[in-house]
């Protein structure tokens, strides 16, 4: 069944002889075959070296000598050499069993694939995807039409009904405020989650699942590889970044696929700082959509921050620079069943995660309110907020933002509807909220993936940085005299 003949013909005679010698020196038993252990030893696999050094102590020095002697006979590394010889064998095998019957005309998918990769055509395509997929579908339809409908419905029908029920059934003011009134679980927590965040996230997940299923993302990765390299990331990092627009928590987890620790840290930092999540993005799009200039200033500022911080971190952080290698999957029509399942599972996950947290946030705010802590923190934050040229009323939105990014954005949406903020203030609040601390879930994931120290360092950097940026943006807008 397993062919000893196959094994004996993979490598050249010299290597084979060395492998046999090493195999003979391995006296204890391993989970993998002796042959595989010998090959990995020759290739310089550190983990296997450690295991063998521990298990076969007596012979290990001898094995090490054998490896060194063998290496001395070649100019290339043994790792490269063995891989090459194995690849020769693989090529030989595949030539024997595989045939390409005809030269097919490149399909429509391939044409499209090429167009997405060339900067000249790729950038317009990217802009189209952003315009229709994000701006029109998520921003205008999801965050505009759907949210308007649900939100005004909720406020006009459900809130009065809940408050009425509470008034007539619950005599204690404290309990009334927990469930209803201004910051209650049902009137604020559930409303934010269901009427503001859900339609935005829902439309985003639909758009994202479609884009994802076509195989567009890896092409985007190749397209922006050059930009990313200048900030110390390879194009592969596009995927966590793109996922970040869905949910930064999920994206932080996926940053694990990056090759070097350095890249993972840079990606984690940028995700926490400059990538808005879908709900946040949707709300911001909805608020600023009526003023294209405001939207442009916001987007330009965030991109600028992303590039500057990325660039500086890449300069400051020691470590090797990554090389890029990525498999390009075929460009294809999205499979609708895939899109539906993906959207569904993401929504399910999101709701399970988001609802309890929104409720928790309501409870905490309620607790803060009755103990006076909420007012105290608001009072501390107010000078900072005023310093950025914003009115006191924006402070709670920042506090909300700490619980969840989207919660803060939803708070901002509330403010926007009251018409309290002028154009500049809207832009400054939106930008600061985008940069502002990662939400609790994302922070937890940062600790899990990067360790407590790194996570804390990132959060401590972001907190003052966001407010400073808000100040700078306000100052820039004032000094340049842009009328928003």
């Amino acid at each position: 069944m397993l062919t000893a003949t196959l094994n004996s013909t993979i490598y050249d005679a010299n290597i084979e002889a060395v492998l046999l010698k090493i195999e003979g020196l391995l006296l204890t038993s391993y989970r993998l075959s002796r042959r595989a252990i010998a090959v990995l030893l020759l290739q310089g696999d550190e983990e296997i070296h450690k295991i063998v050094a521990a298990q076969d102590q007596k012979n290990y020095t001898h094995i090490q000598q054998l490896i060194d002697q063998t290496q001395a006979g070649y100019s290339e590394s043994l790792h490269f050499l063995l891989s090459l010889q194995r690849q020769k064998k693989a090529s030989f095998l595949s030539q024997q069993v595989m045939s390409t019957s005809k030269e097919l005309d490149p399909s429509l998918g391939e044409h499209l694939s090429r167009l997405t990769l060339r900067p000249l055509t790729g950038i317009p395509i990217l802009l189209l995807v952003i315009y229709y997929g994000l701006y029109q579908f998520v921003g205008v339809f999801g965050a505009g039409t759907l949210v308007d409908y649900l939100e005004s419905g909720y406020e006009a029908t459900i809130n009065p009904w809940i408050n009425g029920l509470i008034d007539s059934h619950i005599p204690w003011l404290v309990m009334q405020e927990l469930l209803g009134k201004e910051y209650g679980i049902l009137t604020l927590g559930v409303r934010y989650a269901v009427a503001i965040v859900l339609p935005i996230v829902g439309t985003f997940f639909i758009a994202f699942s479609i884009i994802e299923d076509t195989g567009y993302l890896p092409r985007l990765a190749l397209l922006v590889d050059r930009v990313f390299k200048s900030i110390g990331l390879n194009g592969r990092a596009v995927i966590p970044m793109a996922l970040g627009f869905g949910c930064d928590t999920m994206a932080t987890m996926v940053s694990r696929t990056l090759e070097t620790t350095r890249e993972r840290i840079i990606a984690t930092l940028l995700l926490a700082l400059a990538i808005p999540c879908s709900a946040q993005l949707g709300v911001i799009l909805a608020i600023l959509a009526s003023q294209p200039l405001a939207l442009a200033v916001w987007a330009g500022f965030i991109v600028l921050v992303f590039l500057i911080v990325g660039f500086l971190t890449a300069r400051l952080m020691p470590g090797e620079r990554p090389s890029f290698y990525m498999e390009l999957p075929p460009m294809r029509w999205p499979n609708w069943r895939n899109v539906v399942t993906k959207t569904y599972t993401r929504m399910q996950w999101y709701l399970l995660e988001v609802l309890p947290l929104f409720v928790l946030a309501s409870v905490l705010i309620w607790l803060g309110n009755i103990t006076g802590a909420f007012q105290q923190i608001v009072a501390w934050l107010e000078p900072v907020v005023n310093w950025m040229g914003l009115p006191d009323e924006t402070t709670p939105a920042f506090l909300f933002g700490f619980f969840r990014r989207d919660f803060g954005a939803a708070g901002l949406f509330d403010l926007y509807q009251t018409g309290l903020l002028n154009g500049t203030q809207l832009v400054v609040t939106a930008a600061t909220l985008t940069l502002f601390v990662p939400c609790i879930a994302q922070f937890t994931m940062m600790i899990k993936e990067r360790g407590l120290k790194t996570a804390l360092a990132i959060a401590l950097f972001i907190f003052p940085f966001a407010f400073l940026s808000g100040y700078v943006l306000n100052w820039l807008i004032t000094i340049t005299g842009i009328k928003i």
Partner: protein, 210 residues
């Protein structure tokens, strides 16, 4: 720096629960069951095969590197319960990234009855390299040549019977997203199990000859 304090997994577990996947480091009692591990480079369809074997849902996407965690599920084949393990992508037996290390540790520490090496039919030449390493390692391999529909569209034909003879391991051809070949795969798994339980672990076999 990449290691994780176990306390901070709350959100994560909720996510896992939502996806109906059991967390890898939870001790689940799979005692006395057959174990099957899926390995292969990213984006070859491991998760699609995992889903169709177990009926669970793991995120499937058209870009490499979606699976960053080990997922486990159960399936029944010809009256026996199998634990099925989906792994992050892996390019070779010698790991470079964190996820690859996870997969190798899994191969080193668990005792799979079967390892399914899933490869992309369009890139046979490059992917057989890893197959050779797995065979070298003496692991009980079934080779699954997936995405055959896409390869056929490019005019590629593969003589899988011949490959079977040359490699000396079972070779199955599938187009998992369309559900083609999955029954053949299930049969191959049951068959493999029956034959290898006669000669017991292939691992020992390989070691004897090494």
């Amino acid at each position: 720096m990449d290691c994780c304090p176990p306390k901070s997994k709350l959100t994560f577990q909720r996510l896992k629960k939502a996806l109906r996947i059991q967390q890898s480091n939870e001790k689940i009692d799979f005692h006395g069951q057959n174990k099957l591990i899926l390995v292969g480079t990213p984006n070859v369809g491991k998760s699609v095969i995992f889903n169709s074997l177990t009926g669970a849902y793991v995120t499937v996407s058209n870009y490499p590197g979606t699976t960053v965690e080990v997922s486990r599920g159960k399936t029944r084949l010809t009256g026996e319960t199998w634990e099925v393990v989906d792994t992050p992508g892996m390019y070779s037996l010698m790991p470079i990234t964190e996820e690859e290390r996870v997969t190798r540790t899994l191969l080193l520490e668990e005792h799979p009855e079967i390892v399914l090496h899933v490869i992309d039919a369009k890139n046979l030449e490059r992917m057989l390299n890893f197959t050779l390493q797995l065979i070298e390692a003496g692991l009980p391999i079934i080779l699954v040549i997936n995405m055959m529909d896409e390869a056929e569209r490019l005019g590629i034909k593969i003589d899988f019977k011949m490959l079977n003879t040359l490699l000396g391991i079972p070779v199955i051809v599938t187009s998992a997203t369309r559900g083609h070949g999955l029954n053949l795969l299930k049969n191959a798994i049951s068959e493999y199990q029956q034959t290898s339980s006669l000669g017991r672990s292939v691992n020992q076999y390989a070691n004897r000859y090494a």
